[in-house]
């Protein structure tokens, strides 16, 4: 298992839960956990679900990707409530997570991963 894990936050549970399918293909040894939808599985996000995704991830240091603004706010709240180190990226959700997953699998150091994520920052 790699030292860095990835968490995926989306307003829609199908998107959050579907993403690991795409990412596992290129990153078999990376732990992916996701949080999608509200606590009643409506469109939205849930701080508790995000916290669970953080805690359930096998890695102690996480890269976090989200879809739109309010997801980021709940993500930040969750980050304040965990002991794990979580790096939050304002990149494109799918493309940012794909890039990060590929690079973590190849043991690229975080600083270099962040360099490659920089041009994907769009929010």
């Amino acid at each position: 298992m790699k030292k860095l894990g990835i968490i995926l936050i989306s307003h829609v549970s199908e998107i959050a839960d579907g993403l690991p399918k795409l990412l596992t293909q290129v990153a078999q040894d990376v732990s992916f956990t996701s949080a999608g939808g509200t606590d009643t599985n409506d469109v939205g996000t849930s701080m508790e679900k995000i916290l669970t995704a953080i805690n359930n991830n096998d890695a102690a240091e996480l890269l976090a990707f989200y879809d739109i603004g309010s997801a980021k706010m709940n993500l930040e709240l969750a980050i304040e409530m965990t002991d794990k180190q979580v790096h939050l990226y304002d990149t494109a959700l799918v493309e940012g997570a794909y890039t990060a997953a590929t690079l973590i699998q190849a043991d690229v150091p975080l600083a270099d991963i962040e360099k490659q994520l920089a041009p994907l920052k769009i929010k």
Binding site: T38, D39, M47
Partner: protein, 191 residues
Amino acid sequence: MLTVENTQKWLNNFYQKIEEHKDYLSELDTPIGDGDHGNNMMRGMVGVKESMARLQNPDLQALFKAIAMGLISKVGGASGPLYGTAFLEMAKKCTETQAAADLILVGLAGIKKRGGATEGDKTMVDVWSPVAHSSQLTTEVIAAAVAATKDMQAKKGRASYLGERSIGHLDPGAVSSGYLFTALIETEGIL
């Protein structure tokens, strides 16, 4: 001066206003958002009520925390972490001061930190800020602040995607914040 008792009354009054205006808030959120602000706030206030009901002889800090967690866990949209952070900040500050003006000010700072919005961005900040900075809080201050969001162009939140087209609509979070502070004025003994 905020006490456990009048804060509970304040939030119960806010609950009623949200219940009454739920559909209107969601309507406001339709042209410049995703049409759920009323439902979000209603779910949040049900969460707050439940959260408050679970408390046994709370102090003010525990009460504020319960309010915050009720909003954070139940709203599901941007207004959840925003209102939630405001009440979390009040929880932190209220051991030091219980003056409404001071607590609204730290609440405002929390909203700004959480959402990155500033005055004029057409968000709830545009109600919290004039309210926090008014020498005397009146319904006129609130009404003017809410109304002023109509002509603003949104710079944060979903409405910001519409650019200039966001002009001409009231901001839903500003309107719900207006209810919060109207409820505060109406609660005896706070101001």
